[in-house]
Symmetry: C2
Subunit: 320 residues, 2 copies
């Protein structure tokens, strides 16, 4: 949940006046997105999402994010489409922050993941990767191998206070991953944060993918690994191989995974688990008093990391 | 800002299925209302607000609140109208909480109060009082004179830590108000919390009044006093007599205030300032760690209280 900026009504009216979408009818801060302020904006012509980019998003990255959403929407992916102002510009300023209006997507994100969600997700993720492959801009993944050591060092001294022995376990894990991380796999722009709250469903179909603000250039199979972690574990941290099988088989039906990609899955799921463990650990150790965001539990991802370290090979993920 | 309960999508679908409003299209928690969880609900037939009543609202009061909104809407007041289920029932249960769906109101609440807002507010408040006069249910105001001493006693020991001398000042104020509080003035159901965030505008007109969950039976002029406090002070705590004059004159044009009511205004504004001072003080001293609500400053109302104590009479509010 996050609404950081309260937009005065007269500034909002002036801002919306720069678009051809009619007058503002209502505007309500919504509990969606953690990094930015999001508003459900209704005008005389329709419903939109207004996003104000807060300080955790680098303004230099915004043309990449806006360009990506436009590219994906043009390619038929159900994702927010930036709305251009009367002057043709999509990225503007409001209340001293970069701001954009994007289209509103119907659907709800699933609170309880059922197997059919994972089946539909696999297809949607593969379609996303097929569409992003033709996007020409790029953005380095600062939260992959190159970024882990820095995050870890910022947490190292206090990690054992969160869980005894955590600092040593993380140091060993980073060394192990650094020694064996794939050098080359099919790559392109990945979503990199496709958790359930970023995937809308209507019935059993995916109706929209949102929140592209971690999107970056990386292995497509790493995006698959992120989804295996985010969608295929139960609340008790047990791995649900049925969900994983459905996710992978529907992904492969739309975008085949090579033998090399499949063989790398146990390593990529470990890396992805480590990435979320580290950022959650960092956020927990560096909470701002008064920030209206409840930190997520880093240890959830320690359980997931240990599971992936224990598997014998990619067949653990339900591959046939 | 407050969304306390995360509603699973399947429970929501089942709940909305009990109404004749079509299927759920989307549902987003919104940053509105402090006491309850509110969602902007879109279905195949329209847009609504879904409210889950959290523990600060007494379930025994809900039939009064729901009945009041129905009565006011029938009388032509622009306020949320409860939607009845297929079985005729408006107050239902969702996620173990009382819940209701009400109509959605267009408009935005003003962040910067201008004189025209106060003029429009006065007329809307008078129309509300004229409409509520024929409502037959009642609810005692637990946050008036009878409730202040209890609130104060719960804060007394720690009040001076918030502001030196505050405990004595509050004790004296309660004694003074108890000795002179009006025994009888024209009464009926008042809103009792008509702050700017509960009043929607489109252009210079009031388009809706919301959040009736403090409504109670009390003096109509006390509701006027609450609005004088909430709308007619500047950020530097100076009293804006132009705004007060506009508020009062447009109120009186629609519902005349008797000489007795006018004479009571300095006392009623003091009482209203004390009420918000005490509840804010209590909330500040009793914050729940992790509650996603930023406490409001009690001392804002200490400044207002002192202003009203200093006035020579009702002419201080711009009465002609």
């Amino acid at each position: 949940m996050a609404v950081y900026t309260d937009v005065p009504d007269d500034e909002l009216r002036q801002f919306v006046g720069e678009y051809d979408i009619g007058e503002v009818v209502s505007c309500k801060g919504i509990a969606e997105g953690v990094e930015n302020s999001n508003y459900l904006l209704r005008t005389e012509t329709g419903t939109f999402i207004l996003t104000l980019y807060e300080k955790r998003v680098d303004p230099g990255d915004l043309p990449f994010f806006i360009g990506l959403m436009e590219h994906l929407a043009d390619a038929g992916i159900a994702c927010p489409t930036p709305v251009h102002g009367s002057d043709g510009i999509a990225l503007r300023n409001l209340c001293g922050r970069p701001a954009a209006i994007v289209t509103f997507l119907n659907g709800m994100w699933p609170r309880r993941i059922k197997p059919f969600h994972c089946a539909a997700l696999g297809g949607a993720l593969a379609a996303l990767h097929r569409a992003s492959a033709s996007f020409t801009m790029g953005r380095a993944n600062t939260l992959s191998l190159a970024g882990w050591r820095g995050l870890f060092e910022a947490c190292r001294d206090r990690a054992d206070a969160v869980s005894p022995g955590l600092a040593d376990e993380l140091a060993d894990e980073i060394d192990a991953l650094a020694a064996s991380w794939p050098l080359a796999l099919p790559s392109g722009v990945i979503h990199a944060d496709l958790f359930p709250d970023n995937v809308f469903f209507r019935g059993e179909q995916v109706s929209g993918l949102i929140d592209f603000y971690f999107a970056c250039t990386d292995f497509f199979a790493y995006d698959v690994a992120i989804c295996l972690n985010a969608w295929c574990f139960e609340a008790d941290f047990s791995f649900n191989i049925t969900k994983a099988r459905l996710l992978l088989s529907s992904y492969r039906a739309a975008r085949p995974l090579s033998e090399t990609e499949l063989a790398a899955l146990p390593l990529l799921t470990r890396g992805s688990a480590l990435r979320f463990l580290l950022t959650r650990l960092y956020d927990q150790l560096n909470q701002t008093p008064g920030a209206m965001v409840r930190p997520k539990d880093p240890l959830e991802y320690l359980h997931k990391l240990r599971f992936h370290r224990s598997v014998a090979g990619p067949s653990a993920y339900g591959l046939n």
